[in-house]
């Protein structure tokens, strides 16, 4: 696969039943390209959510290119690991990653949010493979991920379910209902990841409706909690490795992230939650990401 401005990365595309386990260097290269793809598609769409896509992209990249067992050619493979994007507004990050797996043609990314596109403003599981849940109404994805995890256990499959949540999203009560029930069912195959960028539409999460102490809350609900830098592939991979070894408890990876990460004028700026860059802003952003319009 040719990544403009970067070395060619090759990885098995056909029936990759084992996780890709790409190196940190390779992951960094892919996520950099994905950042450019995200900004390009948002500029083209002239709407969407850059802040939360950029805070989540390293986490999603690590899952698909390092941790998850899947076959990009076979969305129906029942033993695949599943990814549920509970924070549905971050979906440009998922579309970018799926394009780098060959699941979506890169050219299709420019159809984001357009009429008749498979790339809905928030993910639609009915029209796009590897989108495991239709989300965007916040607070529902973790329940769905739990249901998949329960079914996998009942079917005696070893697959696991990864669920990426926004931090503002966990203000929803339904999240805490699942926080209660997943440990009851000893779902060691459920790994929730909290994209803790501390931003939501109306301000910083700590001001709008403070969630701290987050790690203590989840621990008190009987989850295993690992707090990491969500932009360090070394730390992401290390936490995912630990989750693999859990025997009877679900894991929450508390990923400290920066909203708009990678673009200086977007970083931790609440105003970039749900506003697309214009052409000039896109160019400035791409220069910082050492890329050209792809």
């Amino acid at each position: 696969m040719q990544v403009p401005g970067h070395p060619i990365i090759s990885f098995p595309m056909a029936s990759s039943l084992a996780p890709l386990r790409l190196s940190q260097t390779e992951l960094e290269s892919i996520s950099l390209k994905c950042r450019r793809l995200i900004l390009n598609m948002l500029e083209k769409a002239q709407s969407g959510h850059p802040g939360g896509s950029l805070s989540a992209i390293d986490l999603i990249t690590a899952l698909f290119f390092h941790e998850m067992r899947m076959d990009p050619k076979n969305a129906a493979w029942e033993d695949r690991d599943r990814f549920v994007l509970s924070k549905g507004h971050g979906v440009p990050a998922l579309y970018a990653v799926l394009s780098q797996l060959g699941i979506i043609p890169e050219s299709e990314l420019s159809t984001l949010r357009r009429i008749n596109s498979r790339l809905q403003g928030h993910p639609d599981r009915v029209v796009l493979p590897f989108v495991e849940a239709s989300t965007g109404s916040l607070g529902q994805g973790l329940s769905i991920a739990q249901g998949i995890a329960l079914a996998l256990k009942l079917q005696k499959r070893s697959s696991r379910v990864f669920c990426l949540m926004g931090d503002g999203e966990t203000q929803e009560g339904q999240i805490w209902e699942t926080a209660m029930s997943a440990p009851k069912y000893k779902l060691n195959n459920l790994i929730a990841i909290l994209d803790n960028n501390n931003g939501q539409i109306d301000g910083h999460v700590t001001e709008v409706m403070n969630l701290e102490p987050i790690a203590d809350k989840w621990r008190s609900f009987n989850w295993v909690v690992h707090t990491i830098n969500g932009h360090s592939f070394a730390e992401i991979i290390s936490a995912l490795e630990k989750a693999r070894g859990e025997k009877d408890r679900p894991t929450l990876i508390l990923a400290k992230t920066v909203k708009g990460k990678g673009v200086s004028f977007m970083e931790d700026k609440i105003s970039w939650h749900g506003v697309a860059p214009n052409a000039e802003e896109l160019q400035r952003a791409l220069e910082e990401l050492k890329g050209e319009k792809s």
Binding site: E78, D124, R125, V126, E132, A133, S134, T135, G136, S137, G139, Q140, G141, L142, S143, I144, A145, Q146, G147, I148, A149, L150, A151, L152, L154, Q155, G173, Q174, E177, T178, M180, S181, Y185
Partner: protein, 306 residues
Amino acid sequence: MGAKATRDSFGEAVRDLGKENPAIVVLDADLSVSTKSVTFAKSFPDRFFQMGIAEANMIGTAAGMAFSGLIPFCCSFGCFLTGKYETIRVSVGYSRANVKLVGTHAGLGIGEDGYTQMGLEDMNLMRGLPGMTVINPCDDKTTRAAVRFAVEHQGPVYLRLTRQKLPDLHASESDFKIGKGIVLKKGGKLALIGTGATVTEALQASEKLANYKPWVIDIHTIKPIDKDLLKTLAQECSQIVTVEDHNIVGGLGSAVAEVLSEVGFSGKLLRLGVQDTYGESGLPDELFEKYGFSAHQIAQKVIDWR
């Protein structure tokens, strides 16, 4: 003829079908003794999931199970289940999840517990979701058939059941065909249409209205509703009466009115049921009488109306 609460029929039917089909799982939110999902739980403890008093999480979990090939039945009182509308709207409806929602304790028929426990808007809410099949059976046999349909049908289903016993009106499960109303009595210019608990009230009212030779119809499938049968009634009748233990807004009466308007019905429609108000405590019979859809009230209102 016997009598049985349709929730009891459901518990037995889902247990019996569970023997044939290992994909069937049942979830409940601390009401398994009331919804009768406990009947399944006793036979298949490994396929029963007690989710506690947290209905939204139960519904979302059921959706995830459905995405993985299971056939989840998600049980609670109809009001508590459909009260989690946003979760049903997105996780089940929009997601085309093969989830079977079982809402018991339909309507004023629950009696003494009062309004907060009564499913009085549930059909309206579920009818508003594209792709949702809404079934409100009136007796044991049709309830069993509806549960079997739910298992075989690929797509979301809302099954509305009663706490109170209802007399047997149908002899065989084969009387039930999804989306097809059942003609209990063929008549003249007047038609009485019931659903669920009110079918038996309509039937009894028809005895009091024998002079008018009313049709009596069981509309068990609220969505998709039987347009063919309604078209026939529109042509044959000059007066059509709907009766439901539900708010008249958005339920059977509304569904019938929509079709009658479309086919150019030139007669009059009377919608009996809860007249866009809230319920209250009382004995079921007292409540049906007070809110105007006991057999006696149906007959009286039809006579006054004519």
